[in-house]
Amino acid sequence: MFPYVIKRVLATIPVMTMVAVVVFAMLRLTPGDPAAILAGDDASGAQLEQIRRTMGLDQPILTQLFVWLKQLLQGDLGVSLISGTPVVSMIGSRVAPTISLALATIVLTIIVAVPMGVVAARRPGKLLDRTVMTFSVMGFSIPTFVIGYLLIYLLSLKLGWFPVQGYSPIEKGIGPFLHRLVLPTIALSGIYVALVARITRSSVIDVMGEDYIRTARAKGARESTVLLRHALRNAAVPIVTVIGIGVASLITGVVVTESVFNLPGLGRLVVEAVLARDYPVIQGLILLFSFTYVLINLTVDILYTVFDPRIRY
């Protein structure tokens, strides 16, 4: 197992380097003068000069690339063009709401989607299964922000059960913190639940045809034991994979959900940076989200060997 883990960890290096190069190339390959793009239309010559110097745009392109990669390795994401604050500290001050939202969503998804998938897989094609699959297609198709606004409309405006928008830090008490997290979490879970329920269903159905399921039934195991102990456990690998891959749509969802519910997290920071044309911040957040995505999938791949000791590379 150990050589595999090392091999897998090393395999992320080229991917991360490519991400950094792509992000680097985007600004430099966009038609037009990069400094002018960053400064906006009404910048003076002196401002352009200033940006060229701080971003190193006056250097040859290969030098720029090496400086850029070196800074990244040192954890330096540059400074905001607007406030001059280091991007890293901007990220630090906005990370808590995003992590709370993401974790709550993953927990809710697993609690809801895995049982949904297992229940659907018990009798494929029957009413319960079709209902679950209908929910799943709807979860895929209804955009996160539409779910968000429908929830606000029904549960906040009509019924008054939840605050319309906003965030309360966990330090100010767990009650208000959770209360304000409920609607955003449900909205964000939609697509994720759809994804995980679908894959749970199909992998449990696959496993149900195996010999050891017949054996378990033959020895008189209860149906719930067969489903949970034998089927679900062996179906775990694809489910965990999809939870990892789904992080990509989770990240998209975070950006949208934080905007809908006015949560002061990293997703809102993306939108604020776009509206202010603060490119270093956008760039830093893209790198952060992409690296997180790659690292989560690395973790998932390593977890395989724990979930399924048969897997040997």
Binding site: V137, I152, T252, V270
Partner: protein
């Protein structure tokens, strides 16, 4: 000549030569799937959206961007079939013209990403020298969440229909490249391709006549999903303020405009949101049907 070389193993990815029988049964299968009520409803919804978009000017609409300070936040009335927004613009007309924008973006992004992905995928699948480099770049692009990549591209190039189309297309390309490349790699070793090579068929002809046709069915399926995801991405970008210029009446822009007044006039956000959701739902349901019929191998996997 082709038919004599064909072997049973080719059955999974039939060459064009085996066309006629299969086409007929494919068509029948598609007809048969219309017996399912959700599929039928999805088809009706999608056709309705297309018809409304195509005939928007003659369906009782007014200028979707005409501002009327006297008619702000009008309720549903004879003049405003679905009410009006903060600028007195007619919501019904904006919804119909918004459908045009969504369909243009969806079709444009699907066509562009498939064209680009097909070329790059064939090159990667056929030329071993370039394969590694191309695929590493694709891995890099795929590791960037597509909405963030699109946001960055739009914020660099400025908002316009073309830049938004490009920004939506670029993140979709790697998945098409992977699909095309894997098919090309698969058929490379097929007997009919080797036979064509040994007969001295020019490379370009082998590619276009014997290899690329295998990608058509999977690409049609992929295309429907890209179509839906492009419509969603455009709406998301516009909703976040990083999409189409605000004067273009797209569904995402309508929702972005309505956000501020949501508590008083929820319809401003909910009408375009619900129409968007219904459209995406229909396309995804029909895409699933297409996949089951055209590409059974892929259907089994999900």
């Amino acid at each position: 000549m082709m038919k004599t070389i064909q072997n049973p193993a080719v059955g999974e990815l039939p060459p064009v030569g085996a066309g006629i029988d299969r086409k007929n049964s494919t068509f029948n299968q598609l007809l048969l799937s219309l017996k399912s009520i959700p599929v039928l409803v999805a088809l009706v919804v999608l056709v309705t959206v297309v018809v409304l978009a195509a005939f928007a000017p003659v369906l009782g609409t007014v200028d979707p961007i005409a501002i009327n300070p006297g008619g702000r936040f009008s309720p549903i009335s004879e003049a405003y079939w679905l009410g009006s927004d903060a600028y007195g613009r007619d919501l019904y007309s904006r919804l119909l013209y918004g459908a045009r924008i969504s369909l243009i973006v969806g079709l444009g992004a699907a066509a562009a990403s498939i064209a680009a992905g097909l070329v790059i995928g064939v090159v990667a699948g056929y030329l071993k020298v370039l394969d590694a480099i191309i695929m590493r770049v694709m891995d890099g692009v795929m590791a960037i969440p597509s909405i963030l990549l699109a946001i960055a591209l739009v914020s660099l190039t400025g908002a316009s229909l073309v830049t938004v189309l490009v920004a939506i297309t670029v993140p979709e390309i790697p998945r098409v490249v992977r699909l095309v490349r894997s098919i090309i790699l698969n058929v490379r070793s097929e007997a009919y391709v080797e036979a064509a090579v040994s007969l001295g068929t020019p490379t370009l002809r082998i590619l276009t006549r014997h290899m690329v046709p295998n990608t058509i069915a999977p690409l049609i399926v992929q295309g429907t999903f890209i179509f839906a995801s492009a419509i969603l991405t455009e709406a998301t970008l516009s909703f976040l303020g990083a999409g189409l210029p605000t004067e273009i009446p797209s569904w995402g822009n309508m929702m972005a405009d309505g956000r501020m007044y949501f508590q008083l006039y929820p319809g401003l956000v909910l009408y375009p949101g619900i129409v968007l959701a219904l459209t995406l739902l229909s396309v995804n349901i029909l895409g699933d049907v297409l996949r089951d019929v055209l590409d059974p191998k892929m259907a089994k996997r999900t």
